[in-house]
């Protein structure tokens, strides 16, 4: 009973927050940022693995929320909507970076190369020094996976998000996400085996 009333109070709190955000209430926006920004940062950092790009994507997420809250239809939970926006911003940056890398390969000197401390060089401070080589190998293998497998694996396995959180963000059912994760694992095992046991 207690948890039910807590959930109810939380739902009411979210409704009130949405109402205030729609009115342009600055305190409500600050509350939204404080409540969600760490979760948003973790999500985009997991996809981008570059703290500068991740902060940029997280900021763009909240700017988009600020602009689009009036059109939020509430057919999804607020947290799902926020995560979806964040994921789209992160994927947009991945696409742009890949395009820049390709252009850089075709036109060396014309396209700005990676800044120091970006995706290729940055290592999450949460990873121990002795594990960094293994982590880098895993990240390289993840990067070579097909897009949907890469996202599902990162969210479910690396970030340990629950299926009930991941499924609505990706707009897929549990079976579909499980299948993506399972295929990703098969692909990763092959790649890591080749890395560890080179012929």
């Amino acid at each position: 009973m207690r948890s039910k009333s807590f959930v109810g109070a939380k739902e009411e709190g979210t409704q009130e927050l949405i109402r205030l955000l729609r009115q342009g209430d600055e305190a409500a926006f600050r509350q939204l940022v404080e409540t969600y920004h760490e979760r948003v940062m973790r999500l985009v950092l997991g996809i981008l693995r570059d703290p500068v790009e991740a902060e940029d994507a997280a900021q763009e997420t909240f700017i988009r929320i600020h602009e689009a809250i009036g059109g939020f239809r509430e057919d999804a939970r607020l947290s799902t909507w926020i995560h979806r926006i964040a994921l789209n911003r992160a994927l947009e940056k991945v696409r742009r970076n890949r395009l820049r890398e390709r252009l850089g390969a075709w036109l060396p000197g014309w396209v700005a190369q990676d800044r120091p401390g970006t995706r290729s060089a940055w290592m999450d401070p949460g990873i121990r020094a002795e594990d960094r080589e293994k982590a880098a190998a895993l990240y390289r293998a993840i990067d070579s996976l097909p897009r949907n497998q890469r996202i599902a694996f990162t969210l479910v396995v690396v970030q340990r998000m629950r299926y009930d959180e991941v499924c609505p963000i990706l707009g897929l059912g549990v079976k579909a996400v499980e299948s993506l994760v399972s295929r990703a694992k098969v692909g990763l095992r092959k790649k890591l085996e080749a890395y560890r046991n080179p012929k």
Binding site: V33, M41, L45, D124, Q159, K185, R189, L192, R196, N197
Partner: protein, 98 residues
Amino acid sequence: MQHAEDILEEHLLAVEGACAYQSDGWFHARLKARMEAMSEASSGIPIRRASWALGSLTLLLALNLWTVGTTSDSSGDRSDPHVAFVQAYGMTLDIETE
């Protein structure tokens, strides 16, 4: 040779502590500064656009009048800007002549 499944598990253990993001407490301040900068930049745009449009229009009109005025034409006195304007734009102005 190590089993493939074990290898994946080992690599996953290596990234166990990843993405443990801790805010430095300044995220909101940086976001607010960016939003304010965006707002200032966008509020300047209509004024800049309007002044550009007005400037361009004036320049175009002056250039047109000057071109028309300096073009020799036997059909009328093109040195008079008034006449030149009427001839150039095919307009009939209701001007009383003495």
